[in-house]
């Protein structure tokens, strides 16, 4: 029990941070809440680093401390810090500003729990916690669009959550236990395994915005503040994907999960990029792009158990995705939501333009950027697991993605007609500079990083 608490120190730190921020917010000291949140996140990150290499569990197997969950903390906590920067810049000065930081911390906590999930009950808890805090984040602006988006999100989450809890009861019936470690008992009960798997795919698929459970995502991203959209596209999504990886790692293959997951991957990648191709709202475009990127994550999940690369690929791609997606959202936050607002941006703001091009190229998967390394590992893992057809579809979709992202690059370097100067946003600049650093750094230092994982 004592060691369990020590192993949980990062999570406890974030929770304590939330409590204190809440107190500060009660006294209308949003600024203090901001700094408390940042400190808690930073301390939690620092506390995680010594745990690298551990492979154990706490609370009798309910929560796993392994490669995935440790790296999830190392990726998601800094990503939350960057999102908090963005939120500070976008929502700073509005009423109840501190609530945004608190809600973000809570969603991050939920995402971290999800990424180390070892029990079906914790899975449900994580999805619900992340969901509840997310609704509030989306509804934050309190205008019609935000309220409608949050409402839709809520209805969708309720239905999928209900399906998930219902389906998980089949697993409990089959194993007599809520622990994921007991899932191999389902090896000779394929019907029960399938029903439970389906419910997990629905529940986590909704959280990760995988097609066909993604319908809430574009509306929610568009209705929410840009900083919240950026946050939602990275942190809860990564948590859900890692949770799926945790569940799958003990699920018997006889349930047919590789096929089900690969179907979701194909649907997400193809649908996401096709829909992104015709968007004129950049936030919606990035929302669809994040649906497609979630499909790429699944390439590593189908390889779990058959390829040693799958965990490495998941971690690297998650880090790369967090950096490049947050970076792209940060640039959008400075420039605006509409495609025409990008016109001539690259000519007027050279550094910002270069950064945006790098983020977009990395999202496409062009070497030597982070996105390339991530996708390369994903493809390698899938090929090693004999999913060549899936890899080929993924590569074809990468070609399609080039069209999607170039649609953003081209207007950036067109001739300017109107000259609107951008207001300086220091926190945003810090964010995109960090993101740029990681996008290039992960790409260049891939070899060094690879040695540290697994």
């Amino acid at each position: 029990m004592k060691t369990d608490l020590i192993l949980l120190m990062p999570e406890i730190t974030v929770a304590i941070g939330v409590v204190f921020a809440l107190i500060a917010e009660m006294f209308r000291a949003s600024r203090t809440a901001f700094w408390i949140t940042l400190t808690a996140l930073a301390v939690a990150t620092g506390l995680t680093i010594p745990m690298l290499g551990l492979d154990t569990f706490v609370f009798e197997g309910t929560y796993r401390i392994d490669t995935l969950s440790i790296w999830a903390k190392l990726i998601l906590l800094p990503a939350t810090v960057m999102s908090v920067f963005l939120a500070r810049s976008e929502l700073g000065g509005t009423d109840r500003e501190g609530a945004v930081y608190i809600l973000m911390s809570l969603v991050t906590l939920a995402a971290i729990f999800l990424s180390g999930v070892g029990d079906t009950m914790l899975l449900v808890l994580g999805v619900l916690l992340a969901g509840l805090a997310s609704f509030a984040l989306v509804a934050y602006p309190r205008n019609d669009a935000a309220t409608e988006a949050a409402m839709k999100f809520f209805v969708f989450a309720s239905v999928t959550g209900a399906i998930m809890v219902f389906g998980l009861s089949y697993w409990f019936a089959g194993t007599g236990s809520t622990l994921l470690d007991d899932l191999p008992l389902l090896g000779d009960k394929p019907i029960l395994a399938i029903l439970g798997l389906l419910s997990v795919l629905v529940g986590l698929g909704y959280k990760a915005a995988l097609a066909p459970f993604h319908f809430w995502a574009p509306d929610a991203y568009d209705g929410a503040p840009v900083s919240v959209a950026a946050y939602m596209s990275v942190v809860p999504k990564t948590g859900a994907i890692f949770a799926l990886a945790q569940v799958i790692s003990t699920l018997p293959v006889s349930s047919g999960w590789p096929m089900a997951v690969s179907i979701l991957a194909v649907l997400s990648m193809t649908y996401g990029y096709l829909a992104a191709l015709v968007q004129n709202n950049i936030v919606r475009l990035l929302a669809y792009s994040s649906i497609a990127q979630a499909g790429y994550f699944l390439l590593a999940i189908v390889a779990i158990g058959t390829s040693d690369l799958s965990l490495t690929a998941l971690v690297i791609f998650a880090a790369a995705y967090a950096a490049m997606n947050l970076g792209a959202f940060a640039v959008i936050m400075r420039v605006g939501r509409n495609l025409h607002e990008l016109i001539a941006m690259g000519r007027r703001h050279v550094m910002l333009g270069v950064a945006m091009v790098i983020f977009l190229l990395s999202l496409t998967g062009i070497p030597p950027l982070a996105g390339f390394v991530g996708k390369f590992l994903l493809f390698a893992a899938a090929i090693e697991a004999d999913f060549l057809w899936l890899t080929i579809i993924a590569i074809l979709n990468s070609v399609l993605s080039l069209a999607v992202y170039l649609r953003l690059v081209i207007p950036m370097y067109q001739k300017a007609e109107n000259k609107v100067a951008l207001t300086p946003m220091p926190w945003v600049s810090i964010t995109w500079i960090f993101a740029l650093f990681f996008t290039i750094g992960i790409g260049m230092l891939a070899q060094t990083i690879l040695g540290k994982i697994g």
Binding site: P190, L198, P212, F215, L267, L277
Partner: protein
């Protein structure tokens, strides 16, 4: 150890400094050579007291590079250092007014460094590298006055002939390394391959040492500046060939020795006759060089490489003195033709005395150094098992040497005096005088040198008698009888460089040109063929473009249009109505469920 590296690096560093600073080039060169010479002497002294350092540098895998000081290499290195120092001292005066001085001295330094490397190399790969750098720098130096067409063509000719002979060295080294598995020079070889290796090495040496039938390039190389010729003929380029054979003499098989001896013998006679018929002082000296190296090859062929080494040493000093003297006469008369040089010796009597001493030494007059070295060669040829063949060659060569040297002295002495002031005479005079002292006196060192190398000088009173007789009769013939009468019918032939039935041109150049023409014609045909293939390709391409425009482009356009249309459909799926979206999600769930059931029941 450090001395060993200093010998190599000092000239190299001087070359770099000269190229960087581009001024005071002669002083930098002399400074570099002084350091190199001091290091070289300390190495020689160490060798006398038995300290033989060796440096191993990591080279190719399993074939490290060796730089080794042995008595032989220390001696040769000291010789190179001395001769190059005094030649460069002379060149400081000779090149005084040349605007391209830095280039000249930098190349000279590279040349000297490469020669030191060749001498000290203990493994084949380093030796090959040095060999190639020597070839390159000699090319650069012979063609130094590249504005002159004859210099350009002479440089190219020298380069091409020595390069083709170098092939022998390459193949020999490949065979040696492949058979012994080591790049060490000391590795011996048995059986028929050793004969092959011996002949290949001989070919390489023949190219560099200008042995018949590859002697032609050396005379043409006179187009370069005189100090270059002096260095080329005495201690560096030409010596490389002989040094190669001296170094490898222990591994050469018995049978190849005879071939070496005969090649040397033929060369010494043929080029001796050419020298006698020559009408140009420098070209005569060049022919004489070939002839003297022929004598060295006779000694190697007789199985006494020591004799060859001694003659190499003596010849280095004698020939460099002769060239330096000739350079002074060339400056004073603006020509090297004998007709113009008549009486030139009277212009500069001190220089002439030096020249004459060196000439007498070369002819083999006691107690000058040439006497001792020639004597050992003749004694060696007497001791050989093929004495019948080698002795006449050696004696013939000695007679011819006396004859053409006597002729040169006579021409320089007899004639009008045309005194003209000369720039840089001090530098030239001091460089020359020291070299002459060596040329005169080095003979007295021979017994110590033999002792250092752990060998004995071959002694034979009969050989001394024959040698002296040959030398004096040669001198007398050359002094008393004009070359025209001496050579008689073969004079024009000798002046033509003994072009046997058309010579080098007819035997090598014209067939090469013929082959080249045939290749050219073949290439024309090939060109036409490829052109028509290209034409056919173009037609195909046009046809393909036609198909592209009509068919594939349309297909791609249709595909793109449909993709965009599908995107539009995907967007319209996203109607924003929650119940419709939920229904779609449920349909998705149902589809995946169906797929899973299908999967289970088919497995």
């Amino acid at each position: 150890m450090s001395a060993l590296l200093t010998v190599l690096l000092a000239p190299l560093l001087a070359a770099v400094l000269i190229l960087v600073m581009r001024r005071m080039s002669e002083w930098l060169a002399l400074f570099g050579l002084t350091i190199s010479a001091i290091a070289s002497f300390s190495m020689l002294m160490n060798a006398f007291s038995g300290i033989l350092p060796k440096i191993v540098i990591a080279g190719l895998p399993d074939m490290p590079l060796h730089i080794a000081s042995t008595p032989l290499t220390a001696l040769l290195s000291a010789m190179v250092a001395i001769v190059s120092f005094f030649v460069v001292l002379y060149a400081a005066g000779y090149m005084k007014t040349d605007p391209q001085k830095p280039r000249f001295f930098a190349t000279m330094m590279l040349f000297v460094a490469a020669m030191q490397m060749l001498v000290l190399a203990g493994d084949w790969i380093l030796l090959l590298a040095a060999w190639e750098i020597i070839g390159l720098s000699s090319y650069l130096l012979i063609g130094f006055w590249y504005q002159k067409p004859e210099a350009k063509s002479a440089a190219t000719r020298a380069f091409l002939i020595t390069r083709s002979a170098d092939l022998g060295l390459y193949i020999a080294i490949f065979i040696l390394i492949a058979n012994t598995g080591s790049s060490n020079i000391a590795q011996t070889l048995d059986g028929p391959t050793s004969m092959l290796v011996g002949i290949l090495l001989l070919i390489a040496a023949m190219g560099k040492s200008a042995q018949t039938p590859m002697h032609d390039w050396l005379q043409r190389a006179m187009a370069g500046p005189t100090p270059v010729s002096a260095l080329l003929h005495s201690a560096t380029l030409v010596a490389a060939g002989a040094i190669l054979l001296i170094k490898t003499a222990p591994i050469l098989p018995e049978e190849s020795l005879l071939i070496i001896g005969v090649i040397g013998g033929i060369t010494t006679i043929v080029t001796g006759l050419i020298a006698l018929g020559e009408t140009d002082l420098k070209r005569m000296l060049a022919a004489s060089t070939s002839s003297q190296y022929g004598l060295m090859l006779i000694a190697i062929g007789a199985g006494v490489p020591l004799a060859a080494l001694l003659h190499l040493l003596a010849h280095a000093f004698m020939k460099s003195s002769l060239f330096l003297g000739a350079g002074v006469f060339q400056h004073s008369r603006k020509s090297t033709l004998f007709n113009k040089l008549r009486g030139a010796g009277r212009d500069h009597p001190k220089i002439f005395i030096g020249f004459a001493l060196a000439a007498l030494a070369l002819a083999g007059i006691p107690p000058l150094s040439g006497f001792f070295s020639k004597d050992t060669i003749i004694a060696a040829s007497f001791s050989s098992s093929n004495a019948v063949l080698l002795v006449p060659f050696a004696l013939g060569g000695t007679i011819l040497t006396g004859a053409y040297m006597a002729r040169a002295i006579r021409i320089l002495l007899k004639g009008e005096r045309l005194a003209q002031p000369l720039a840089g005479l001090h530098f030239m005079g001091s460089g020359l005088s020291v070299l002459v002292i060596f040329a005169v006196g080095i003979g007295f060192m021979f017994s110590q040198i033999a002792e250092l190398l752990g060998e004995h000088l071959p002694e034979n009173p009969v050989a001394i008698a024959f040698g002296l007789a040959a030398a004096f009769s040669g001198l007398a013939l050359g002094w008393l009888v004009p070359a025209r009468r001496l050579l008689g019918q073969i004079l024009p032939w000798a002046q033509n460089g003994f072009s046997i039935a058309g010579g080098f041109d007819a035997w090598f150049v014209q067939p090469a040109v013929f082959i080249a023409r045939q290749c050219d014609r073949f290439e024309q045909i090939l060109y036409q063929a490829i052109l028509s293939i290209g034409q056919a390709g173009l037609y195909l391409g046009r046809a393909a473009r036609f198909g592209d425009e009509r068919a594939i482009d349309k297909a791609i356009f249709a595909f793109v249009r449909n993709t965009i249309w599908m995107g539009g459909r995907a967007r319209s799926l996203q109607s924003g109505l929650i119940h419709k979206e939920m229904a779609l999600a449920v349909i998705g769930i149902a589809l995946i469920l169906a797929a899973l059931f299908v999967y289970i029941f088919t497995n």
